[in-house]
């Protein structure tokens, strides 16, 4: 029986040459996917909310609901 001599050297290098590019691309893809599915929509949602936000109107509504301690509703 004459089997071929197995590879004795360069095993780590071969593994790294195969796995490192895959690892880097997958990491970049994961980061990009998170950015464009989570952070960008979230930033847009906040921007849209505050575009039409009237702070004084909201404050008056909250005041009438009676949640503040320093400013009571207009009825009292």
């Amino acid at each position: 029986m004459s089997l071929a001599k197995p590879a004795m050297r360069g095993l780590l290098g071969k593994r790294l040459r195969f796995h490192l590019p895959i690892a880097f691309t997958l990491s970049l893809v994961a980061a990009a996917a998170f950015k464009f599915t989570v952070t960008e929509p979230r930033k847009q949602a906040y921007a849209d909310f505050y575009k039409q936000y009237d702070a004084v109107k909201e404050f008056n509504a909250m005041k009438e609901a009676g949640i503040f301690e320093s400013v009571r509703p207009s009825g009292e």
Partner: protein, 175 residues
């Protein structure tokens, strides 16, 4: 609060009792039988995947037949039959690599036992919940949680994505 402590105390008491029972059984058995005591200062046989050549052969006390086989082994190996070669292998090794690797179905028993004990614990906790625990705090009653929810809506808690984003302030209902 002291009831979980009581439960754990009773469980530990159960374990201690069962352990002491086991120990007493073992002691009684050892007094009646003559146990082989292992001398750990001498080389031992080991059945491991990473050491293919153990320190000592598996079978130490050979019968006459086995001793004759060992004498035959000192000669030309081509004169040995297949059965003799296998017998020599079994003299020096307990399991082959395939037998060492095969594994067992013990995990099913273990998992089954674990689930039985978990289920039993669940039943105990259920009984505790019904017969031992007192009433919930007043902050968890429906009356309080209604007032709490209304206050959260009035405060505009998380208006962008979260709580108040789901409340329609114009129609005064959930979206």
């Amino acid at each position: 609060v002291c009831l979980p402590a009581c439960l754990s105390l009773s469980l530990s008491l159960c374990l201690f009792l069962s352990l002491s029972l086991c120990l007493s059984l073992c002691l009684s058995l050892s007094l009646s039988l003559s146990l082989y005591v292992l001398d750990c200062s001498l080389p031992q046989y080991n059945c491991r995947l990473d050491t293919p050549l153990p320190d000592v052969p598996f079978v130490r006390e050979l019968t006459n037949q086995q001793r004759a086989l060992k004498e035959k082994e000192k000669g030309d190996w081509r004169s040995l039959t297949k059965e003799e070669k296998l017998a020599l292998y079994r003299l020096t090794h307990q399991f082959s690599y395939a037998e060492m690797r095969q594994g067992s179905s013990e995990w099913k028993t273990v998992l089954g036992g674990v689930f039985i004990m978990l289920g039993f614990s669940g039943l105990l906790l259920w009984w505790q919940r019904v017969y031992v625990y007192g009433p919930v705090p007043r902050t968890l009653t429906p009356d309080w949680t209604e007032k709490q929810t209304q206050r959260m809506i009035d405060m505009r808690v998380n208006p962008v994505h979260g709580f108040s984003a789901h409340w329609d302030y114009d129609r005064k209902q959930w979206k």
